[in-house]
């Protein structure tokens, strides 16, 4: 199939349809509103359901209801809307139901602004709501990758019966890029299972539930969830390493839109002879701790790690966890919807390199 030029939000919607998603429940919020606006039309064409719910709280609960029926479903929102979905996410994870949630992050806190940010890293990776649960979090850095990761999000959410989030930002949602999709109809329908309420013939009673009043039972349930999260961490981490060909003295760590800007900056400084590499986590949860540590250990000499985010330093904590004190960690971040230019990032790298050399 040839490439088409599409806006990120619309491409994401198309990717969901190609992944076999047939139910969408959402609420308008900038900068993700084109996702529902695209799907209202597309889902009609494929015989699916689109609902503009009365709130994000309702959206995530409608998703929970549909997910319990064993059908592929999703919602999408942006930062303040995701906060409202926190409760539902906890219950969906506890009930072990699969669904996909898109977050086109915008700047906070509070109402904040509508420009891109990465300040929901904690929210996405450290749980949104209460209880010991986790959500699979995938962070695309281009429209094409947003398409690919949306497909993957549906796969992983069903494989592990857990919510999966595509955590992008307003930049990716609003940008137009050439993009290629999987073939229409290639997605297999959700297989028959022993957990959903969607039976089409006589079967044993089932109940979707997250209440365990006996502490022993709840303990067992938590252990089961933990085993699942461990399995996800062991099998599903994904990352990209860039600019390592001839060794490197500094390692930049960034994700999503920021990583893409860092790539351009790294090209710029490498042309000047500075040896800088990029580590880009694609899965924010599970976080690729092992691969990042290996990349840090491969830095020549005692060169530092430079973590760059469109936040005041959230992934920074995971970078420090990966380093376990073995290396100096520097941080550069912007907030409020201010997106650093490649030149600004290059300047930061140059400044850092002066200290190294």
């Amino acid at each position: 199939m040839s490439k088409v030029l599409m806006k990120g939000n619309e491409a994401l919607g198309e990717a969901a349809v190609r992944a076999g998603c047939v139910h969408f429940f959402g609420y308008p919020i900038t900068p993700q509103t084109e996702v529902p606006e695209y799907l209202v039309k597309r889902l009609r064409e494929v015989g699916g359901t689109f609902v503009q719910a009365e709130s994000e709280v309702a959206s995530i609960n409608m998703v929970m209801g549909a997910a319990g029926m064993g059908v592929r479903c999703m919602t999408s929102s942006s930062s303040p809307g995701i906060s409202l979905m926190a409760e539902g996410m906890s219950y969906i994870a506890a009930c072990e139901l699969p669904c996909v949630v898109i977050n086109m992050m915008r700047a906070g806190p509070g109402l904040g602004g509508i420009l891109p940010a990465q300040s929901d890293y904690f929210q996405a990776t450290r749980g949104h709501g209460h209880g010991d649960y986790q959500v699979i979090v995938l962070a695309p850095s281009s429209v094409q990758e947003a398409v690919d990761l949306t497909t993957l999000a549906f796969e992983l959410s069903e494989k592990y019966r857990n919510p999966a989030m595509v955590c992008a930002d307003g930049m990716i949602g609003q940008m137009m890029e050439p993009v290629e999709f999987p073939e229409e109809g290639a997605a297999t329908p959700m297989p028959e299972n022993d957990w959903s309420l969607g039976a089409r013939d006589g079967r044993e009673r089932r109940i979707v539930n997250s209440l365990y009043l006996s502490p022993e039972d709840l303990h067992r349930h938590n252990l089961k969830l933990k085993a699942k999260y461990d399995e996800i961490a062991a099998n599903e981490t994904r990352q990209e390493i860039y600019g390592t060909d001839d060794g490197y003295d500094v390692l930049v760590v960034a994700f999503g839109t920021m990583a893409r800007i860092c790539k351009t900056a790294i090209d710029e400084v490498r042309a000047e002879g500075l040896r800088v590499a990029l580590f880009r986590p694609i899965t924010l949860n599970p976080y690729p701790f092992g691969a990042l540590r290996d990349a840090m250990d491969a830095i020549e000499g005692d060169g530092p790690v430079l973590d760059i985010e469109m936040s005041m330093g959230q992934m920074l904590y995971d970078v420090k966890l990966a380093a376990e004190g073995s290396r100096r960690i520097e941080f550069y971040g912007t907030a409020g919807g201010v997106v650093p230019s490649p030149d600004e990032v290059a300047e930061k790298i140059r400044g850092l390199m002066q200290g190294v050399q």
Partner: protein, 315 residues
């Protein structure tokens, strides 16, 4: 079952016939005397009457005493989130329009934390039955004021008596444009309760049933008069309404009310009192699950649509 063909029997398994027992789950652990037992029995009877396949029926609940409901039935169940039984049910019904969906809520669930969902569920008019088990109190958490607690009634959170006049769930529902079925019944009038559930189930659209429900622990006094003195209860009667001879014989106070008259229904609801019956019924309102449903496409149709769509974006 082994299929054996004889002259009089083709060997196919006979249609399953469900009895009330087939719908019974584990023993209900509500307090003795709790009105919820009565609602559960009526629901089982309804299931048996309509021979609803257990796996084609979903009871969705929120939090509170009422939320135990799905656990005590052998149908499919969905023990959801406090206040969210209605959006969950909406999701269930839109994903699987062929299933029968019942949302069971308490007064905290529906009228407090889930009030926004309630208003919009009435608007959506999704084809389902919503049961409000209204005991006028937060029971499970042991006596806190709920939106329907009568003014002056003491609780652990408002010990000098409920500060505000109570919310009237019938008025609220009837005030929402697109309301299509609003009825009130009581747990201590089992025949009327069953007849109301039956009418609600037969209604095409969002059937809202407020069930006056005794809490023997915290609000027994609120319902005692009505339970002990049939004259305290008024029954709405009309040829288009809910008709139950037993109830009408016990409660001789009858009020003629045409349930197709919205203004009369609103006025009646606003007056309050222990009135049982069908306040409002309009079976012509559009159902969201039907208006949102679209015809299925063949793979060829889909490819054609897709090509047309992608042509717009081709570079």
């Amino acid at each position: 079952m082994t299929a054996t063909c004889t002259l009089t029997d083709c060997g196919a398994a006979p249609d399953v016939e469900y009895s009330m027992d087939d719908y019974a789950g584990p023993v209900a652990r509500w307090c003795p005397g709790c009105g919820d037992h009565s609602v559960l029995s009526a629901a089982q009877r309804l299931l048996a009457t309509h021979q609803m396949a257990p796996e084609k029926t979903v009871f969705v609940s929120g939090i509170g005493c009422s939320s135990r409901f799905p656990h005590y039935l052998r149908t499919y169940g969905f023990h959801g989130i406090h206040g969210r039984a209605l959006p969950i049910s909406t999701g269930v019904k839109l994903a699987r329009p062929d299933l029968d969906v019942f949302a069971v809520m308490g007064d905290g669930d529906c009228c407090s934390i889930g009030a926004a969902h309630w208003i919009h569920a009435v608007r959506y008019n999704v084809n389902m039955v919503a049961l409000l088990l209204d005991n006028n109190i937060y029971g499970l958490t042991k006596k806190q004021t709920s939106p329907t607690t009568p003014q002056g009634f003491p609780s652990n959170t408002q010990p000098r008596g409920s500060i505000l006049p109570p919310m009237n769930p019938l008025s609220v529902t009837l005030g929402v444009t697109n309301a299509s079925f609003v009825a009130q019944t009581a747990d201590w009038a089992p025949q009327h309760l069953y007849a109301t559930l039956d009418a609600a189930y037969r209604h095409r659209g969002f059937a809202f049933v407020r069930i006056l429900q005794r809490c023997p622990i915290w609000t027994a006094s609120l319902f005692r008069d009505a339970v002990q003195d049939p004259a305290k209860v008024e029954v709405l009667v009309h040829e288009k309404g809910i008709h139950d001879a037993t109830t009408e014989a016990i409660h001789t106070n009858h009020l003629d009310h045409d349930p197709s008259d919205l203004n009369a229904a609103r006025a009646l609801a606003e007056e309050g009192g222990m009135r049982l019956g069908l306040f409002f019924h309009d079976p012509t309102n559009a159902c969201y699950d039907e208006t949102r449903r679209v015809p299925g496409y063949t793979p060829e149709d889909r490819i054609a649509i897709l090509k047309r769509e992608l042509d717009r974006h081709a570079v």
